[in-house]
Each structure stands twice: as C-alpha cells, then as structure tokens.
C-alpha cells in the first residue's frame, strides 16, 4: 500500500496533466457555450435562463437554415472538388510517377502552401480571380473573352475555388498515405485473377484507400465548414457562411446565447461527420489490420 503510493502519484501526474488540459481547454469552454445557449438575450446583454428559445429561433427563422444549408453545400462542394483533384493526383504520384525526385517535388508543391499564411493564400486568389486579375488578363490575351468578366470573384464559385486550394493538402496527404500503403502486388494479383484496370481500381485500390478518403473528406469538410475568411475575402453578397453568422452574433448583434446555440449545432454536425468517418475507417481497418 505504502509502496504503491508514489506510483499512484506519478500515474496521477501522467494521466492528470492531459486530463486537466482537456478539462480546462476543451470541456470547460464547451460547457460555457452550452450554458450560454440556454440563456436569454436581454438588452443590453443577456441573462441566465434555461429555455430552448435560441434553438427554436434557429429552426424557425429561415435565415439560419439558409446559411446552414449554404455552408453545408459549400463544404461538400469543396470536399468533392478536393477529392476529385487530390485522388487522381495522389494516385498518379504513388502508382505512375517513376521518378522519385519528381514525386517528392510534386508532393511538396501541393503541401508547401501550408507553410504560407492562410490569409495570404486566400488573398492570392483575389488577385487571380478579380475583374482586372490574372485569369481575366489571360483569357483576354487568348481572345476567349473580349472584356473582363466579373463572374470569377465575389461569389460562391470563388469561395469553393479558394477553399479547395487552401484545404486540398489535407485531402492529398491522407489519400497519398493510404495509397502508398497498398502493396503494389495487390493490383498485379487482381489483374492475374482476370480483373481489368478499372475493376482492379474499384475492387482493390479504392476500398483500400477509403480510410484516406474518409480522413481527407472529414478534414476538408470540417475546415471549410468552420471557415469565415474565404467569405470575407472572396465571397460575394450571397456568401455568408455559418461561422460568419456566429461571429456576428458574438460581435455586432451582441447575442451570445444565439451565437452559442449556433456553435453547438455546428459542433454537433462536425462531430456527426467525424464519427461517421471514424466508423468508415474502422470497417476498412478491420480488413487491413
């Protein structure tokens, strides 16, 4: 008993510090937000209460569902576009790129922007997509259009493009890792057993890379879902996303209870996506283990 005490103490420290961290920096803030979400807005601030009025507002005032719907749409589009670009790229890198140097180089080219400030990267797209931007100058020099188009910037298209560009490394990395872990001879075995390249891809490569796809999709989706910089920089009048609305509620509207309720809804959606992808990865893993 006595001999055990110090060991318990060190165990307490080893487990206790991370636990304390989680409590102080994760559970506590969430707890506060959950609490606020039941409070009442009351000029000039808000007062403690326990009522579901804020959640009800989110359901009944169509503006919140509108923004939520748009945010879901944008995030899904970003994830799909990222997947559509990242998967062939990663596949090419892993299975088709013969030169090791080229592979490293191409991989770094996609990942490197992560080390550049987010704001700067988003800003770059402003200069590319703008009315007097690079894309317009290029299109005009090729003669495809005769006068600059304003269709590229300050709309949802620009947001999807910018967010895809910014978050695509988070899609490439897990997919690349997943593909790289697939032994090359599995594709040969599949061909050996009579399957053409397309079937081999569908039956072997794709299923074995689902953990990577799930991880990439979750990352890009959640990152886009919580973004408020892209709408601010390249979004147009119809570009309001949920995070900007939350920001407004905590700032301009000084309605922390409503902002908190929105945050909780957002958190629930994100957690749902994460657990869904976890389950997908888990089923894929029982096989690959």
């Amino acid at each position: 008993m006595i001999a055990r005490a110090p060991r318990n103490l060190s165990a307490l420290l080893v487990l206790g510090i991370p636990l304390l961290w989680i409590v102080v920096f994760m559970l506590l803030p969430y707890g506060i937000i959950v609490t606020y979400s039941f409070w009442l807005k009351s000029y000039p601030t808000f007062k403690p209460a326990f009522q579901f009025g804020n959640y009800l507002t989110l359901l009944t005032d169509v503006q919140y569902l509108q923004v939520l719907g748009r945010t879901l749409k944008i995030s899904i589009l970003v994830s799909i576009l990222s997947l559509g670009l990242a998967y062939p790229f990663a596949w090419w890198l892993v299975f088709r790129c013969r030169s090791q140097a080229l592979r490293t180089w191409a991989y770094m080219a996609v990942i490197a922007p992560l080390w550049v400030s987010y704001l700067l990267r988003a800003y770059i797209w402003k200069t590319i997509l703008g009315t007097e931007g690079i894309l317009n100058s290029f299109l005009m020099s090729t003669g495809l259009i005769s006068e600059p188009s304003s269709l590229f910037l300050y709309n949802q298209f620009a947001m999807v493009v910018t967010l895809t560009y910014i978050f695509i490394p988070f899609m490439v990395m897990p997919i690349y890792t997943a593909l790289e872990r697939i032994p090359l001879n599995l594709a040969e075995a599949s061909a050996d057993l009579g399957m053409g390249p397309v079937q081999t891809f569908l039956k072997v490569t794709l299923p074995l890379s689902t953990p990577g796809i799930a991880a990439g999709f979750t990352l890009t989706f959640c990152l886009s879902f919580g973004d408020f910089i892209a709408p601010f920089l390249v979004g147009g009048p119809d570009g309001n996303l949920i995070a900007s609305v939350i920001q407004t509620q905590f700032g301009a509207a000084l309605n922390w209870p409503l902002g908190s309720a929105l945050s909780i809804v957002m958190l629930i959606i994100v957690l749902a996506i994460v657990s869904l992808s976890d389950r997908l990865e888990a089923t894929a893993h029982t096989g690959a283990a």
Binding site: T45, Q63, Y64, Q66, E132, S150, G236, P237, V245
Partner: protein
C-alpha cells in the same frame, strides 16, 4: 540565484505602480492615437500611451466584457455610447477638468447618447458623414441619389457597408426618413429593398481597406463611405473618386472619448483627454484620418483655411443636414436581425 530572484521581484513591485500611473491604455480606432501627435504628448505629460485598435463598434463591448479591465479609455461612436453606459462599463466625466469643453459644437454636446442623469459620459472628439462615393470615370453625370445604388445598369459594380447602416440607407431610399425610429413594417420594407438590390451588389465592404481595394481593383464604382477617409486613401493611390451627399441625406457619426469605470490611471487619462481636445489632438487626428473635429475653436486655430472649409468645420447647414447616429436601444436587435437576414439570403 534566489537572491537575484528576490531582487527582481522587489524591483518589479516597485516599478509596477509607477509604470501603471504613467500609462494610459486606449481601445480606439486607428489614427486616434497616431504617433504623429501622441509622441509629443508622451514627452510632455510623462504618460505612456498604449493603443489597441478596433475594427468596428461591435468590438468595444465584447472586449470590455470578456475580462477587460486593462483599458482606460475607449472611443465608441454615438450609436454605441449609450450601450456602454447601459452595460456599466464607463464612468461620468469631470467636465470641469477638461479645458475647451465649452468650445465643442453644441450639436454634439446635446446628443443624448453621451449623457445620463445629468452627467456627461463621453467627450465629443471627431465627426463625419456616412457619405457616398463614386468613381469619376464611371459617371459622366454625377449621381445625386441613393437610388443610383439600385440602378440595374450598375449591376456588379455596387458596394455597400456591411453594417446595420444599410438599413438606414434603404429606409431613406424608401422615403422613411426617421431612420432611427423605424417601425417593424418600415424595417421589413428596407429589408425587401436590400434583397432586391443584392444581385446588383459586388461585395458588402467590411473594412476601410477593403473598400479601397475594391475601387483600386476596378471592382466597384459606387458605394457609401466614411467621408474623408477612404476617398483620401484612394486619392493618394491616384484613383479619382468623388464623395457626395445624396438628396435623401446622409447619416452623421461622431466618436467620443469615454473613461472606463474605475480606471486606476485617472490622472493620465484626463491629461490625455485634454490633449485630444486641444489643437494638438484635434488637428492631429484631422491630418491623419481626414475627419472633422468636435472642438470648433481648436479647429479654427490650427487648420489652414482650405482644410477648415473642406472639413465643413464652419458649415452649420452641412452639420444640420446629417442625421447623427442614435442608440437604437431595444430596437437594435430588429435592425441587426433584418440586416443579417438580408445577408443570409
């Protein structure tokens, strides 16, 4: 080792209060504590100024509520000052301790937003109009009306401030001139007008720099603006724009210095207020931001005639034509909610 530590601690304790007494922490707009005139103040008064900048009036309350206590002075606009008083964040001013108080334009001293129970809580500092602005090259005939921001021919070339102010703009366009006391119905109408305008809008601007960028990049040709500020920046960049007050009138704004409740740095705070209302502070800020100032006598003394005229310092009609912002009180939510609903569409 231990000795050094003790020594350092003692030093720290000794230096602590002295340092605090000589410092004034201000939460304000960019330009209001510009080194071009603050440095001189610091030298003369012995008070060190430490400034934190806000991007919007909405930043004051959250910053002070969220465990504030580190700011001594703030400069909310006239529609936000009452909220600061209601929230109990600021304390009454000792106007007798402020030289030049009586030289402030009566129009500003009479604002309700800075008074409560016979006491003043805010010291008027600078003012201006939420004017409108257009790109010279885009308009052979200069625009004269708010309705020009609803002109379908300007589709994709219009910008509007991302603020509840857009409700004021839309209401005036609808002919509802009592913009700070709109009924629900009138707000609904303003909202409808803004929704109608939405397809024409290139971008709602949120910061001064953003509006400047929009004009510079050729994205927009007409918008509202903080009179004097963005047009000045654009002119410096060689972009030719002109400000105008539409026939529906414009909102006026005015920023006041307020003392945060129970500040320990009262002495420096009052020295600072006196400086800001003096010629040093008034012409200082007018030169940096291009805003008009609240102290008529100081303006007359320190401004060249040209600037004095350009800033409408001696133009009672101009000042009277402005609908100075008012606190919306419990109507605040109706306005912001309407504006958020427009943006959500």
């Amino acid at each position: 080792m231990k000795k050094t530590l003790t020594a350092m601690l003692t030093l720290g304790l000794a230096a602590g209060p002295a340092l605090a007494e000589g410092t004034v922490n201000v939460l304000t707009w960019e330009g209001y504590a510009d080194p071009s005139f603050i440095t001189k103040f610091e030298e003369e008064s012995g008070c060190k100024v430490s400034a934190t900048y806000v991007g919007s009036n909405d930043d004051f309350a959250p910053k002070l509520l969220g465990g504030g206590g580190i700011y001594d002075l703030i400069t909310p606009s006239i529609d936000t000052t009452a909220l600061m008083i209601d929230l109990g964040l600021v304390e009454p001013l000792d106007t007798a301790a402020i030289t030049g108080w009586n030289d402030i334009y009566p129009k500003f001293l009479s604002q309700e937003g800075i008074q409560r129970d016979g006491a003043y809580y805010g010291m008027p500092y600078v003012w201006g109009a939420i004017a409108f602005m257009y790109l010279d090259s885009a308009f052979p005939t200069p625009p004269t009306s708010i309705a020009d921001l609803w002109n379908p021919e300007l589709k994709g070339k219009i910008s509007l401030w991302d603020d509840k102010s857009s409700i004021y703009v839309a209401a005036r366009k609808n002919g509802d001139m009592d913009i700070y006391n709109l009924t629900d119905e009138q707000i609904e109408k303003a909202k409808a007008a803004l929704v109608e305008q939405k397809p024409l809008v290139r971008k709602y601007w949120a910061t001064a720099g953003e509006l400047v960028d929009l004009y510079k990049a050729g994205e927009v040709v007409i918008s509202n603006t903080w009179a004097g500020y963005q047009s000045g920046l654009l002119k410096a960049e060689g972009v030719k724009v002109t400000e105008f007050i539409p026939k529906e009138g414009a909102e006026g704004w005015m920023d006041s210095w307020m003392v945060v409740k129970d500040t320990p740095n009262k002495e420096c705070a009052y020295k600072f207020l006196n400086m800001q209302l003096s010629e040093l502070g008034q012409c200082g800020v007018a030169n940096v931001n291009g805003y008009s100032v609240a102290n008529a006598a100081a303006a007359k003394a320190c401004m060249p005639a040209e600037q004095y005229a350009a800033l409408h310092q001696d133009d009672p009609n101009y000042l009277d034509s402005l609908q100075v912002w008012q606190a919306l009180g419990d109507r605040f939510e109706a306005y912001t909610n309407a504006w958020n609903a427009v943006k959500a569409q």
